[in-house]
């Protein structure tokens, strides 16, 4: 037995993060760690990696009780973590990052650069990683960066690798690449613990699963024979009847028409329409231009040509202000960065996009603002102490709701959702879909960009597929995952080529 965790406890101030974390990981197997956001997965793994100290419980490493007071101690035992957000030095080369802190030193602090390059190159070649030792890390894709972290871990002689949601920012091809690497690690008899949100991934890589709920291990065992429904039930503690299921409505009038939208090198002659009460999926690989299309429509990026009509009227959107005025809403992928002012109260966030409505003559009517905020908190079932609570203190799903609430208040009718479910847990996903469904029912038109194909296929009325800046096909409801992927990729080979700069 490589690693054994027994009854690990941890509290932060008054909040219990872990009540009873149990886990047993073997060498040569991929152990999946599942659970909703806030279930304690990351805390448990940070304890294993020495980043957080437990309040109670026992950690046994190769049968011996251990305690790690710092990440370096865990690393010395052979435990390494590949982080969700890269912890690399972006301006250094791949080789320099691999050896960072452990360079071969010559007298007077000289570093033997050539030897370092050679050893890095050998390491990369040995594992067939699509990397070059002299590439600068900042030019790598997220997957490439993860590979560098993996190289580091292997070079440092790690026997247990922990992946914290490695694929959440990767394209399909990159995800496959990560899976391949995880499998090689397993063949080399290393232990792998893999935290994930994406249920679809489980079967591709996992051997065993441990499921956490509210800080407690509720299930642990082999993956074979465990159905996805059972896993979800363990995660949420109740039956979730068909989270992704949605009934389509007869579409109403046309709300958005895009004709020949182009941006040199990025978007080519994009044409489509959105109608009221429709949810239209936008699929494609990372880099196909989906986010760029949203940004262009919303006036964040300039366009070279094309016409846009909102509710039958031509609009000329050159900045987000004009987009908001035209009735468009963009719910960006990175909510914390682009959608929310985390330091400000929920109420203020909700009114930002149409502050004029509660501030006649530029003076804020605080009573009206409070009424609005309370109304939206109730309507969207935002779990908050009050409208004054800081937006940053809400959970991911609730933050998402605040962003949506902001646009509801702005009276937007065309909603562009960019990866609305990324990084949120199953229950919160169900709520996001519920909100989108309600939006559609109330007469909005929704364009939903998502890399989670199964979700997209079940939620959307029809699917638009983009490839290399072009809309290549429109598929009706009922299309299969394979069909979409075929259009999204076509002759293009999966993997390798995308990982470079």
């Amino acid at each position: 037995m490589l690693l054994e965790l027994e009854g690990i406890q941890k509290r932060f101030g008054g909040v219990v993060a872990l009540r009873r974390g149990d886990l047993r990981a073997e060498a040569g197997e991929v152990h999946l760690l599942l659970g909703e956001n806030g279930a304690g997965k990351s805390t448990l793994m940070k304890i294993v990696a020495g980043m957080v100290q437990p309040d109670g419980g026992v950690i046994r490493w190769r049968g011996q009780p251990v305690s790690f007071r710092a990440p370096a101690e865990a690393a010395a035992h052979g435990i390494a973590m590949v982080h969700q957000e890269s912890l690399l030095a972006p301006h250094l080369t791949v080789a320099e990052n691999i050896f960072l802190g452990r360079e071969d030193r010559l007298p007077f602090g000289w570093v033997n650069r050539r030897r370092m390059m050679e050893r890095a190159a050998r390491l990369i070649e040995e594992h067939h990683f699509p990397l070059q030792a002299d590439w600068r890390v900042e030019r790598l894709s997220p997957a490439g960066k993860q590979l560098v972290e993996i190289c580091r871990a292997i070079y440092h002689g790690s026997s247990l690798l922990i992946f914290d949601e490695p694929t959440s920012s990767l394209s399909e091809a990159e995800t496959q690449e990560v899976f391949r690497i995880v499998r090689t690690l397993r063949e080399r008899h290393m232990g792998v613990i893999y935290i994930t949100h994406r249920l679809e991934e489980l079967r591709a890589v996992g051997d065993r699963v441990t499921i956490l709920r509210d800080g407690e291990t509720v299930h642990s065992g082999p993956l074979a024979g465990l159905s996805t429904e059972e896993i979800i039930r363990h995660m949420v503690g109740r039956e979730l009847e068909a989270i992704y299921h949605r009934e389509c409505l007869p579409p109403g009038e046309e709300l958005l028409r895009v004709e020949g939208l182009s941006r040199r090198g990025v978007l080519h002659d994009i044409r489509f329409t959105l109608r009221a009460r429709e949810i239209v999926g936008l699929a494609g690989l990372v880099g196909a231009g989906r986010t760029e299309l949203c940004r262009a429509l919303f006036g964040l990026d300039p366009v070279d040509g094309g016409r846009v009509f909102v509710a039958g009227k031509e609009v000329h959107i050159r900045n987000p202000r004009q987009a908001v005025a035209a009735g468009l809403a963009l719910i960006p992928e990175d909510r914390q960065r682009n959608g929310l002012a985390v330091l400000l109260p929920i109420g203020h966030n909700l009114t930002h996009a149409r502050l004029k409505a509660v501030s006649p003559h530029g003076i804020i009517d605080h009573a009206a603002e409070r009424r609005t905020a309370t109304e939206f908190i109730e309507r969207l079932r935002i779990r908050a102490e009050s409208w004054r609570q800081l937006a940053g203190k809400l959970s991911g799903g609730n933050q998402q709701k605040v962003v949506v609430g902001k646009w509801l208040f702005s009276q937007a009718r065309v909603f562009l959702f960019d990866e609305p479910t990324r990084g949120i847990d199953v229950a919160a996903k169900a709520e996001v879909f519920h909100i989108m469904d309600e939006l559609a029912r109330s007469g909005a038109a929704i364009l939903m960009v998502s890399s989670e194909l199964p979700e997209l296929l079940q939620v959307a009325d029809r699917i638009l597929v983009m490839r290399q800046g072009r809309l290549v096909v429109e598929l009706p409801r009922g299309a299969t995952q394979e069909e979409v992927m075929r259009h999204a990729m076509l002759e293009r080979e999966a993997g390798v080529r995308e990982l470079g700069s």
């Binding site: 909040v15 987000p320 004009q322 682009n338 002012a341 203020h348 930002h352 996009a353 804020i364």
Partner: protein, 307 residues
């Protein structure tokens, strides 16, 4: 909670301690001199509060203060009435604040760099205009602005209270203030929400300039000269006042009350040092230490909150 109250608590403790330590502290002469001394920094700090809340910084305020004072007093020297001179000073401040705002929003260069540049430009122009010589021939009545009393209270205190109330209202009750917080808290989110970011950022810098121009006239009135070298190093004192009062250089945080307290803490520290015969060199070191202490306490509070 205790940490949130720390600035005001320190102000009270400082006040009580100084009352006990020196018999001269709690006299009307001394207290009104503290008010007069801090008013200039205080009024500038009100403008800086808005800038810092909006996620910016203005290093050029000291230089703008000098130019405002110089041009205002030069106008009086030329025979223009006092109110016109004051207006010229205020408009000079407004103009340079506006220039700062425009450069920052149009060129999209970091405010730190832009205002470092305008600091040099404004100071240089001021010295060229004045030929390095101060303006002395000023109507005697002008001293009322900085040294006069109204209803037994220093006139500058009325100005300060009025400005503080106005800025507080602006920040808490108007769209401009709300947008300043939004821009400072998350400029991207503000942009996505359709907030006219450039317009409001420029407005905030312009207002900061306007208040600095007013402070420049008060400074000139107190010294009864238009000094081209006035206000050197004021930007640091002003920023310190905002920061001690809980303003965050990362934007999105700050308040008028906090800034007033911060400015008065610094005012009392320097007044107390004078009364107790502490060398002015040591004073500087003390104020420096207080800034670090204040920010550390505030950071600790936020870190606790973040968890």
């Amino acid at each position: 909670m205790i940490q949130r109250l720390l600035p005001s608590l320190s102000l009270v403790i400082l006040f009580v301690a100084l009352s006990l330590a020196s018999p001269y502290f709690l006299t009307q002469t001394n207290l009104s001199s503290v008010v007069r001394q801090t008013a200039v920094i205080n009024i500038m700090a009100l403008g800086m509060t808005m800038v810092i809340i909006a996620g910016g910084i203005d290093l050029s305020v000291g230089a703008i203060l000098a130019m405002a004072g110089l041009l205002g007093t030069m106008a009086m020297e030329q025979g223009y009435p006092i109110p016109v001179g004051v207006l010229i000073g205020v408009l000079t401040g407004l103009f340079w604040g506006f220039v700062n705002g425009l450069l920052i929003t149009r060129l999209k260069i970091a405010p730190f760099i832009v205002t470092l540049g305008t600091l040099g430009i404004v100071r240089g122009l001021t010295l060229i205009i004045s030929d390095g010589l101060p303006v002395h021939r000023i109507p005697q009545k002008f001293s009322y602005l900085g040294e006069g009393n109204l209803l037994g209270v220093p006139f500058v205190l009325w100005i300060l209270v009025f400005c503080a109330a106005a800025v507080h209202f602006l920040l808490e009750h108007t769209r401009l203030g709300r947008y300043a917080f939004a821009i400072g808290s998350n400029p991207e989110a503000a942009l996505y929400a359709g907030v006219p970011v450039a317009f409001h950022t420029t407005a905030v810098y312009a207002l900061c300039g306007l208040l600095t121009g007013l402070a420049g006239m008060i400074e000139a009135s107190r010294l009864m000269t238009g000094q081209p070298t006035a206000g050197q190093g004021y930007e640091l004192q002003v920023i310190a006042a905002v920061v001690i009062g809980g303003g965050s250089l990362r934007g999105g945080e700050g308040s008028v009350i906090g800034t007033l307290i911060g400015a008065f803490i610094m005012g009392l520290l320097s007044n107390g040092s004078d009364l107790l015969g502490i060398s002015p060199y040591l004073q500087q070191a003390i104020i420096g230490a207080v800034i670090i202490l204040a920010v550390t306490v505030d950071e600790l509070r936020k870190r606790k909150l973040a968890r």
